[in-house]
């Protein structure tokens, strides 16, 4: 399997007043294309920070980080934004849908950055919503949907531009067990049938068990790996 993500000696530090806080401490890791990786660890272990760096939402302090052969840490802000739009889909714990938009308009959002005509954007948004089983909820606003349905819309938004990499930050953390299982089924389907590379941060061992590989992070260091 080709490594899609390559990290070597990755360090991320934050400043708090005069103090330097090292959140990721020399992390080295490779994730192959098509893998479904669960990232576990206690609160404050650096999971979300790692996810933010891989998604180009934050900048590393030092080390190497390449995704698909591209050193994303060296990209200027505008190019990094463009790269995110083209290559990464994000799924959040709290869904982060825009409450004023319908499910269809929420899913269409990433496509506004493309050159696609409106009709094609709508067609793709509907296709994504059909894939997650919400073809009958196109014109519903987030407050009119259940938590599980909102997360499905979030997943549809993440996959609508057909990204290589899906980054999921505790996607089942705010859902009941049944809805959580449905979301995990969906992520597995996206991984197995559509070849998406998925990195999922979770606290839940049941969720992690769905992944093909589990990483455990503690105090900014990778401690164990289960395949």
């Amino acid at each position: 399997m080709q490594p899609l993500i390559h990290l070597r000696d990755l360090v991320k530090e934050y400043r708090r007043g005069t103090e330097r806080l090292r959140v990721l401490d020399g992390l080295s890791l490779e994730i192959g294309e098509g893998e479904f990786v669960a990232l576990m660890g206690p609160s404050g272990s650096g999971k979300s920070t790692l996810l933010n760096l891989l998604g180009g939402l934050d900048r590393m302090t030092s080390g190497e980080l390449t995704i698909g052969g591209l050193a994303i840490g060296e990209l200027p802000d505008a190019a990094l934004a463009r790269w995110r739009a083209d290559h990464v889909g994000f799924v959040f714990q709290m869904y982060n849908l825009l409450p004023v938009l319908t499910a269809e308009a929420n899913v269409e959002l990433p496509l506004l950055l493309s050159d696609l005509p409106a009709a094609e954007r709508r067609r793709r948004a509907r296709a994504a919503l059909t894939l997650v089983g919400l073809e009958d909820r196109l014109s519903h606003r987030p407050r009119e949907l259940s938590g599980g349905q909102e997360q499905r819309v979030g997943i549809a938004r993440a996959i609508v531009s057909d990204p290589t990499l899906l980054l999921c930050d505790e996607p089942t953390g705010d859902l009941d067990r049944k809805s959580g299982d449905e979301i995990l089924d969906l992520l597995q389907e996206l991984n197995r049938q559509h070849g998406k590379t998925i990195l999922m941060v979770t606290h839940d061992p049941r969720a992690a068990a769905r992944a093909t590989r589990q990483l455990h992070l503690d105090k900014g260091v990778l401690h164990a790996e289960v395949r």
Partner: protein, 399 residues
């Protein structure tokens, strides 16, 4: 060709974000409605104030450059001896002269004054060729010492027709018998060329003067002088003022345009106050809009973080916030100016007697649109910059 195609493509690209901008406006409908309401009022006032300013300026535009006004040096309201008329007539370069008095004329209600002037009618009409009068009526007016020449606007307002005997009252002058009413016969009705102000009444000075008490007789308000060519006006003005230098009633001679401007300046202070009010309203509106945008952006910190996560660049975020700000001012501004235009149509009729020329013009509306865009940009720029600078990680942390 390529450039215009590129511009069209950019416009098309921007248009795709409009539903997103529109949806943002609907987030807090009540707040948006109040903000739009304040903008609506500001721009309605702006357009109506523009209409009023236009009405004030119209008199200045109509003033002739070949006509001089000779007034008391101290003040426009102080009278001159009637003898000045003949002395001015004898000054080198003077073509025609007529005097005029401001009598504070009214018909029924003292609060509804009508500009009424006793004049040397023949000379006056020769000096003002813009007055359009049917030949027969003109001759009838000149032949009748108690005749009245009424502007069309006044005649229509009071339902007068030629031959009617009408009472002109004065709040300044009194007749010998103590009355302040002059019954005169409408002999002619005039229009002013190019739709100018016909809100005037003209009486014969000789008749009017004869009826006055001794204390008020033989005094004129000012002298109007016509010179053959406009370029001669400054020299003639100097000669006239030199003639009365060191006399008990020194004169100040200026072109009719300058005098009208001076007169309008007094009325214009109302315009200036109005302008100041509009400026204050605009400033308040700017603060309201800026506050709305700042609040709106603050409330959406998390959403802006999400948009940036999805790949929306800093420039796009900046443009979205600015577009939202301009859209708010555009809705309020266009509705406000539209209302002013409709109101202006009604007011133009209602104010015809007092403020002819009152009109919300296309120029005012176009200038208003420029203000709409500028105010929208100014109100939105700081929140837009804040949104642009927002770090994704910080933004997503706030929920």
């Amino acid at each position: 060709m390529g450039g215009s195609r590129l511009r069209l493509e950019r416009l098309w690209h921007v248009a795709r974000y409009l539903p997103l901008v529109w949806a943002s406006l609907r987030r807090r409908r009540l707040r948006t409605a109040f903000t739009i309401g304040s903008i609506f009022i500001a721009f309605m006032l702006y357009a109506l104030a523009g209409a009023m300013e236009r009405a004030f300026e119209r008199g200045v535009q109509q003033a002739g450059a070949d006509r001089l006004m000779v007034q008391h040096k101290v003040s426009f309201i102080l009278p001159l001896p009637e003898s000045y008329l003949n002395r001015v007539r004898s000054v080198d370069g003077v073509l025609r002269v007529s005097s005029a008095n401001w009598i504070g004329g009214y018909i029924k209600d003292i609060r509804e004054q009508v500009p009424t002037f006793p004049v040397q009618a023949e000379a006056y009409l020769a000096m003002y060729p813009e007055f359009e009068i049917p030949r027969a009526q003109r001759e009838a007016f000149l032949a009748d010492r108690t005749g009245l020449l009424a502007g069309r606007a006044v005649a229509q307002a009071y339902g007068w027709k030629v031959g009617d005997v009408v009472p002109i009252k004065s709040e300044i002058y009194r007749r010998k018998d103590g009355s302040n009413v002059w019954d005169v016969t409408v002999r002619a009705i005039f229009d002013v060329r190019d739709g100018g102000d016909s809100r005037q009444l003209l009486l014969h000075y000789d008749y009017f003067n004869e009826t006055l008490s001794d204390a008020q007789r033989d005094r004129i308000g000012w002298v109007m002088v016509q010179v053959p060519r406009p370029e001669q006006a400054p020299a003639v003005a100097r000669r006239i003022d030199a003639l009365f230098a060191n006399s008990p009633a020194e004169t100040k001679t200026q072109t009719e345009k300058a005098m009208t401007q001076g007169f309008m300046k007094q009325i214009g202070s109302i315009g200036a106050i109005l302008g100041a009010v509009v400026t204050a309203v605009f400033f308040t509106m700017l603060l309201v809009s800026a506050n709305t945008m700042a609040q709106s952006v603050r409330e959406r910190t998390n959403e802006i973080g999400v948009l940036k996560t999805l790949g929306f660049g800093n420039g796009t975020i900046l443009s979205l916030v600015l577009a939202e700000s301009v859209l708010i001012t555009a809705i309020g501004g266009i509705l406000g100016m539209g209302a002013a235009w409709l109101l202006g149509l009604q007011l133009a009729i209602a104010l015809q007697r007092f403020l002819p020329g009152f009109e919300v013009t296309p120029t005012t509306l176009v200038q208003g649109l420029v203000w709409v865009v500028m105010l929208g940009l100014v109100a939105g720029i700081w929140p837009a910059i804040q949104a642009m600078r927002l770090k994704i990680v910080d933004a997503l942390r706030r929920d």
